[in-house]
Assembly symmetry: none
Homo-oligomer: 407 residues x 2
Amino acid sequence: MKLDSLYSELTLKTNAKHVLLVLDGLGDIATREQSYLTPLEAANTPNLDALSKISAQGRMIPVAPGITPGSGPGHLGLFGYDPIEFQVGRGVIEALGLGLELKPGDVCARANFATLDSKGIVTDRRAGRIPTETCEKLCAMLAAKIKKLGDTQVIIKAGKEHRFVVVFRGKGLEGPLTDADPNREGYAIPTVKPRDPKSVKQKKMAKLITDFYKAALPILAKEKPANGFLMRGIAHQPEIPLFEDRYKMKAAALAVYPMYKGLSQLVGMKKIEGPQSIAEQFERYLTDHDKYDFFFIHYKYTDKAGEDGNFAAKKKAIEDLDAALPILLKKKPDVLAITGDHSTPCAAKGHSWHPQPVLLHSALSGSDKLDRFTETGANTGSLGIFEAKYLIRLMQANARAFDKFGA
Amino acid sequence: MKLDSLYSELTLKTNAKHVLLVLDGLGDIATREQSYLTPLEAANTPNLDALSKISAQGRMIPVAPGITPGSGPGHLGLFGYDPIEFQVGRGVIEALGLGLELKPGDVCARANFATLDSKGIVTDRRAGRIPTETCEKLCAMLAAKIKKLGDTQVIIKAGKEHRFVVVFRGKGLEGPLTDADPNREGYAIPTVKPRDPKSVKQKKMAKLITDFYKAALPILAKEKPANGFLMRGIAHQPEIPLFEDRYKMKAAALAVYPMYKGLSQLVGMKKIEGPQSIAEQFERYLTDHDKYDFFFIHYKYTDKAGEDGNFAAKKKAIEDLDAALPILLKKKPDVLAITGDHSTPCAAKGHSWHPQPVLLHSALSGSDKLDRFTETGANTGSLGIFEAKYLIRLMQANARAFDKFGA
């Protein structure tokens, strides 16, 4: 028997309110440059401190030991989906990140403009990193002329610099395909192929990509330096069991950035639009408190500061969130989890594999008697170090949403 | 290669004595009501304290994160059997709990007396919770008239209030079946069906249940309010590899309550009858020390107090056990593990998913330099937080019962 089936069998519907508060990239490491304090340790966090004294703590492995996740796997894990089992193609993630609303069956591709020589050999895989405005102009040109290929709708959306996304919406399409990208300069663009040679849908999709190149390359022929393009991560939106079916909870997402709105929609959460600051997000939680069972609240700025290697900014982002926390606690959820989707250590200037700290509070969380919420403290908490995909199961347990297993 | 096969391959026979001392429902949580102390933390335990200073500690997940086990899965895990792989039907657990001695192939069902209207509709699933004496009288009536169905022996045993158990002993029988219980009032009793429609044995068993109803309902027809009954958890005793074959250890169970005697017999432990108090159980261990390699000693009162939400009683149950501990230590086992089968927090008034603390002592356990045996201390122990099914493997390792793996 699969563990997920056991969880499903035992799941009860409750009236409990759950909040999953994600400080993106929260986890960090203690280094000499910062007197061996992490941003969480250095920050002034009176509200988190108070919560810590009455909560359980632990650390979470986002995917598997040593694996650094992107935002996709990071959040799928937090939502309780095994990020290795439920893989979302880069095209899909990129499309979500650009705010495109995807439909089941849509096939998405990440693309970049590139420079080709007269023989079609790739001479610059990023077309000299053309400015975003040029990219937008080129995408508009393509979109004006290529609206459909046969019965398939084509949606083209510009990203930053040389990057764009193409979505194919039609019947009987499926990924994944091999990349239309030699992955190095000096080679021609390879023809895409089905990853599964037996799949009729992948064959149809591969032909569509070829047709797209036939239609698009002549439009770009006279452009300099972006007279070509590469396509990667061509895949359809995977079938993911809906959050509500899986957990018997109606879920809403309070996120500001499109990528996180998109990821929450992938699992069927309701996207709440409007709030721009964490205080506004918390206020909206108060307003919508009775409408949902589960709130995913996403805060981006810890990750941004970590990516920039900006310790002071990460510390401040934590302090800003802490200052807003009393708004959320006006209607204290029955189960509250505060964590990150992964670590983004300032010293690494990027995502990392280090387990992120997690704080869990409910009437049954118990207290680990820790005075603060920090990485070092979390190491000694009663939750131990566990895979992030189990967090939501622990939240369910804390809401008494599981029947007893066996007599 | 399966991990269990690797363990088996490496297992050596040793002369070491092992004791697994289970304080049922030992684990607890720190709450404000009890000044953030757990019963283990609040209790006066000089003998456990002394042991703690020379032992390793950790915490164990009974089944999987967030899953609250019943006594069955809790103990199977402690005995080293994956409780999800080896599921024991509720009928079997109930029969064991009533002290019935089961044979391989027996199919057991939990039953309760119920009230039916003239059309056979269930109007009260518990027949007004009839007194235990009435239940015993009705069971005796049924047992007197239904001893066999075809070549199958039928054993009927009364439980508490409206509950009873029916065991079918014969050839070619198998569960699980669907329930003969509409699970709500206002509906007729459904006919049971094989869970696996291809199983000939389950088909035979389903017919036996139908025949049992045909024979039993007329006997009860004039009873009020118990003129009917429901049957659930109909399943056979699963095939479980014998403890002695699996671990190369002869095992004995020193348990007072029938359920735990039954669970230990399920895996082939020898049931030692007689002792009623923990001091008597320890004395008997001293007497029988040379006869077995492994002693499972079960202590119920921590769980009972937790179920009642009685903090003082749980604390006292721990202190009583601590006071008796020097008897056991007169012949200190080579490997001693002290733990629970799950947590039963006073605040939850029932079993829970919180990892239970475990203490492991042997010449090779090392010391975690912890002054006491508590949940909070165990969080930081060298055993970490691990699944309970591995405890017995750690005990074997501490007895040097595993050959080196690879050169």
